[in-house]
Amino acid sequence: MSARDDILGAIRHSLGVSGKETIRRQIVSDRLAHAPKGVIPKRGQVSGEALLALFKVQAEAALATVTEVASAAEVPQSIAHFLRDHNLPASLRMGDDRRLQAMPWNDTALDIAHGPSAGDDLNAVSHALGAVAETGSLVMVSGSENPSTLNFLPDNHIIVVSAKDVAGDYESVWAKVRLTFGKGGMPRTVNWITGPSRSGDIEQTMLLGAHGPRRLHVVVVKE
């Protein structure tokens, strides 16, 4: 017998089932089809400015920095300022996200590179699918638009998110993923990112900049 059949057989033996019970199968397929929500913290169940404010507080508590701009057109300048203020080089890598592409990067002196990172970039910008105010998390999906390597290899990661894509809870984000990729479908990678990389492995003292970005900067586009 194959290992697969052995293991499934052993599970069924222990549970005292055959695996063919209609009721069990129905219960499982119902749950997979309907994906019932459980307990959702009240904290995130706010809207408008309160939701944005909660996102900001939570992201900052996770040691990200957050700035707001009125429109997408202001994003390049805002990022250029951020880099200058932190004495970072005026270079920036990005994928081929259409929202980012449409921004007026030529208004800045930034040196823009495109495509995934090979590990030698200092700065990168990605566009988030959304954000979760509950914990100040950004939700990133993989693809050539926003390559996953940009989330982890650069020292400084900047994430652009539209204010309208900031949700109160994780469940709202899954609804959006299903809308985009179909029920049961997923991009190769969904990353929830909450603050910059860190480690507490030396004497349980939290230090920033373990393997991923040392800085996480979020630009919220309000329009």
């Binding site: 290992a3 549970l15 089932v17 914990t135 393997h211 991923g212």
Partner: protein, 477 residues
Amino acid sequence: MSVHSTSPDFKKNAARALGDAQLQKALGNVKQGFIDKREKATQKLPEFEALRDSARDIKNHTLQHLDLYLEAYEQKVRASGGHVHFARHAEEARDIILSICKEAGARTVTKGKSMIAEEIGINEHLETHGITPVETDLGEYIIQLRHEMPSHIIAPAVHLNATQVEQDFRRVHTHLDAKRDLSEPVQLLTEARGVLRERFLAADVGITGANFLVAETGTSVIVTNEGNGDLTQILPKTHIVLASIEKLVPTLEDVSQILRVLARSATGQEISVYTTFSTGPRHLGDSDGPENYHVVLLDNGRSAMLGTSFEEMLRCIRCGACMNHCPVYHAVGGHAYGWVYPGPMGAVLTPTLIGIDQAGHLPNASTFCGRCESVCPVKIPLPKLMRHWREREFERHLTPATVRSGLGLWGFFAKRPALYRLATGIAIRAMGFAGRRKGRFQWLPLAGGWTRNRDLPAPQGETFQARWRREHKRRAA
């Protein structure tokens, strides 16, 4: 069994740990680092208790339908272009991983933190076959340099201090300037980042564990703070997920429930920095990500736990809260437990994996203070399960003869009140008389286990029941 166990020597291990001043100092970090932060994080979320119940219920539901969720999961992984391999035991899992690595022509393999990888001893196996495994979680990397096992399931190097890490880095990173300053922990972190960055970029295969497997979508989920797990899985051509079968959860909503209790219970964070959901190999049009995606599903005794009282242990989400709050763990640290899983969860799980004859001490070395159960995010009744192991040991006559005969004697009298009254009356009178001058004993025959570390207060000299009956006779008269 795969990894060598020193669990039978628990007492010796514990004695050594208690005498190790450096270790004792490091263990202080467990209390300071975790307990208050967890408390604060749970206080901040009014729904935390409800979420614990929800997490428990989700895991119970999944375990009751595990065969069907595994089938659904498997189908989804295949549909997304990934491969699923089932492994009955550690040896089978090692062979599957080795053959995937060989097929990929792998010379070096990066690894995210995985307790299952420790459980099957994959590193030694790969090394034996000429493949270099590189641990990338900072704590795991440090203990790999020292050829040690993790001493904590989420803080593998919690038994070490910065000076020891510095010494190891100087010993191993010989290509770096010998005069470099490593006096600050952040310098150690930066050095590890630099060294491991090259390893990430050079690796042929990346192996990660999984905190969860989602049946709805065929997704594996990992949770890290460092980002090492992500670099491990997106940079090499091949990503192998190694997970035990009880990691299944039905849906993305279900995993979101459990994630809300995981980090809060573990480190006191509201959520870890990186929560990553991976589904299959890179998609058409993706510009990065692995080209091959394999999942190795390990049983290794878990299917046999279903339907027994130990089924509840399969809810465990490996947060480490039980050991963070355990007075025994605080006293002796993780290595004393002698195998992969320490603390209360290890005291229950280890005997199922390496046998109660090997791990018999572990479920006995508990005061049953119940603090572990009170903080467990999925409400596993750990003391009760440890007691179940004690019952099995007792049935199999594995309980030490001295304990057995002592208890037998106590049980004999406890069942016979008249004899109890007679025997205790005499004994207590004698003890009371012997202890009347000092009020306590510094040594007493047969009580060496007690008096080695503390005095034994002397009894007052007459039993309560004797005095009560005497006084009541008088009152009645």
